[in-house]
């Protein structure tokens, strides 16, 4: 603020008279200094001066923006993801982490923003983009949503399928398929898988892969296509093969067979080998076939003598547990193929915690003096070598 009157004498005769490098304004009449500038020419760092934003923060925001552009998401998601990144970056759990983790954090922000704004995306896609260790990404993601208190809805697997299928009409006729039919068929297969408990608790990408593969085969079940293994299919589609997809294919085929058996006009037995030809029919009449299958299964269960609901003793519980998977038409595969657990040793009954502890038992845990000497000697020899 440049005052025009001197505080000392009230005069207005003020000149600029620098003292060396310090700018000053002096009253000519009384000689008092009216105002003086700062010694340094740069502005003083203080609350009034804006802090230069952190370089890494900017880099991270750019990174998340790049990812959004690659994914071609809409602007809202871009903005939301940058907002979250900003918030998370400043949060104490992320302020001092490595740059690699901050990159992963950017990816997680993109992921959570897509989820919140209903853009179907899997974590696997983010993993591809940032090329990081899945465990690390999982860890950072969980930490971020708990730090920022976000509740992100889960992604429906059927929504994600569409984004994974592209037109393949440029391929030779044997392999080409239009994406609309492929999507329709794959979505129906995934819905069937979901009803048969194949989807819950599993990673979505192998299921999508299995569904697309089976859909592709069933749309034109020529010998050529049926012979194509999953590996070859992944090569054609230019994706990496996921090992669990093979198991999913088997599981989906099994579920299809259960329904395929109920088709009235099919005379031959429906097995995993020939079920692909019938997939179109099965999917078209899914619900009717399901009803028939359930009725057949119900009759079967009622016929067997073990169907009584007698309460079993505790040691027989294991068998009951295994049985419940066999008693229903569809059950989660982990139940049907339950691994035999190691039989637990009979528990110590009626332990009060205050029992007498025998000396001999305690002595059995202590080395004899000779043993201790030998052990010490061996250790020394070991250390020397």
């Amino acid at each position: 603020m440049l005052s025009q009157t001197c505080q000392g004498c009230g005069g207005s005769n003020i000149v600029e008279d620098d003292l060396y490098c310090q700018p000053q304004r002096v009253c000519v009449d009384c000689g008092s200094v009216v105002s003086e500038g700062v010694l340094a020419s740069e502005p003083v760092v203080g609350p009034a001066v804006a802090k230069k934003p952190c370089l890494n923060l900017i880099k991270g925001e750019m990174f998340s923006l790049t990812m959004c552009r690659i994914l071609m998401v809409h602007r809202e998601i871009e903005q939301l993801s940058q907002t979250y990144y900003n918030k998370a970056y400043q949060h104490e759990s992320f302020l001092k982490v490595s740059l690699q983790k901050k990159e992963v954090l950017a990816g997680c922000c993109v992921l959570v923003s897509c989820r919140l704004l209903n853009w179907p995306i899997t974590m696997a896609t983010i993993l591809c983009l940032i090329n990081a260790d899945p465990t690390l990404v999982g860890e950072v993601y969980q930490e971020m949503i708990s730090a920022l208190k976000i509740e992100a809805p889960i992604v429906l697997i059927t929504d994600v399928i569409e984004t994974h299928i592209q037109d393949s009409l440029h391929l030779p006729e044997e392999f080409a398929e239009n994406s609309k039919d492929l999507t329709r068929c794959a979505v129906a297969l995934v819905e069937l898988a979901a009803d048969s408990w194949i989807v819950t608790g599993r990673k979505p990408v192998p299921i999508i892969m299995a569904a697309v593969y089976l859909a592709w085969q069933s749309l034109r079940p020529t010998k050529q296509r049926l012979k194509t293994s999953l590996e070859k299919f992944c090569q054609i589609a230019k994706v990496n093969k996921y090992r669990p997809a093979v198991k999913r294919i088997a599981e989906i085929k099994e579920a299809l067979c259960k329904l395929g058996k109920e088709i009235p006009w099919v005379r031959e037995a429906v097995t995993p080998d020939n079920v692909v030809q019938h997939v179109e029919d099965i999917l078209q009449h899914r619900y009717a076939l399901l009803r028939r299958a359930m009725r057949t299964h119900q009759d079967l269960v009622e016929q067997t003598p073990n169907s009584s609901s007698v309460k079993h003793g505790p040691h027989e519980r294991n068998d009951v547990e295994l049985n419940w998977g066999k008693r229903v038409l569809f059950a989660p595969p982990c139940v049907i193929r339950a691994k035999r657990r190691r039989v637990e040793q009979p528990e110590l009954q009626d332990v009060t915690g205050d029992e007498e502890i025998s000396d001999s038992e305690i002595d059995s845990y202590i080395r004899t003096p000779q043993e201790a000497r030998d052990f010490a000697l061996t250790q020394k020899m070991f250390e020397k070598s």
Partner: protein, 313 residues
């Protein structure tokens, strides 16, 4: 009036008062007064009397007061609680005439206690024991406890003299000791503090900790047995039916976390009691974070009706 009866009539509501609390907890704070009053009535009734209360004999003002308060709760609670398909209370769209006055609800809190000591005129129904509800008792799998031996310890000496000890200071700053009966592992620190893991019951954990202390004593240290405390209990059980985890995370979003790409189970963080449950599609449930056995049983009885709700395809 029917509303109140229905609360006490329905057996699920009787024992799953906590679950209703969860549902009610989702409401706006404006209703919290009525919530707490309702719960104080319920808590008292289910613990003290544990019988059906037929309040039809009560004078009209008292019952209408309850009614209006309950009506408000019902209206507000219905959308939340009905999502919990485990509860089968049917909320008829009652012509709740009452424009509810929050003060009425508030005053209910103070007048809650007179209801309970009254003698009901209808025959009493004995309350069903908690375990009989689901017929399933979670089995304890692991107990973690700590105890202070009360004196500094020479870990190198212990590792040298004890057969069942391993000590690798570069990897971890404690001696790892094991005993056969009860089959447990202990981490013994140089400060004299000890952690005992692997026992299948609280008493076994205490016995094991005492045995470790005795071993340390025999080695020549003036070990005592101070501040024994159970820090964590882990239990597991199987409900024997498959569970739609996707459905559960939709209706219980605040408390559940289901990320199939990271972990196949649903992580449910129960508020009361503070227990974390891992729920799997196979119907197996793991409960952890308890300091007492009762918390585990309570948590399971709370979750069982919720799981039943997600049973049908």
């Amino acid at each position: 009036m029917d509303e109140l009866e229905r609360y006490f009539d329905d057996s699920i509501a009787n024992d799953s008062g906590f679950m209703l609390e969860e549902g009610l907890g989702l409401q706006s704070p404006a209703h919290s007064i009525q919530d707490s009053s309702y719960l104080s009535v319920k808590a008292q009734s289910s613990t003290e009397l544990g019988e059906e209360l037929d309040l039809s004999f009560l004078p009209d003002e008292l019952s209408t007061q309850t009614d209006t308060a309950k009506a408000a709760e019902t209206q507000a609670a219905a959308p939340d609680v009905s999502q919990d398909s485990g509860i089968c209370l049917d909320y008829n769209s009652q012509d709740s005439t009452a424009a509810v006055d929050p003060q009425q609800g508030g005053s209910l809190q103070s007048s809650a206690s007179p209801f309970c000591p009254m003698t009901p005129m209808t025959p009493m129904t004995p309350v069903t024991p908690v375990t009989e509800r689901s017929g399933i008792i979670p089995q304890l799998q692991n107990i973690v406890s700590t105890v202070n031996l009360g004196c500094p310890l020479d870990l190198k000496f212990i590792a040298l003299q004890a057969r069942n000890a391993e000590y690798n200071p570069k990897r971890f700053a404690a001696v790892i000791m094991r005993i056969r009966e009860p089959r447990t592992t202990a981490l013994i620190f140089s400060s004299g503090k000890m952690v005992c893991t692997g026992a299948k019951s609280e008493e076994q954990s205490r016995l094991a900790a005492r045995k470790y202390a005795r071993v340390v004593q025999k080695l020549g240290f003036p070990a005592r047995f101070l501040d024994f405390k159970i820090q964590n209990m882990v239990a597991s059980c199987d409900v024997c039916f498959p569970i739609r985890l996707e459905g559960m995370v939709l209706t219980h979003q605040q408390l559940s976390s289901y990320e199939p790409e990271l972990f196949p189970g649903l992580i449910y963080r129960m508020v009361k009691p503070r227990i974390v449950l891992l729920i799997f599609v196979s119907g197996k449930v793991v409960l952890t974070g308890a300091k007492e056995r009762a918390e585990i049983y309570e948590a399971f009885e709370n979750i069982y009706p919720i799981l039943r709700g997600f049973r049908k395809q």
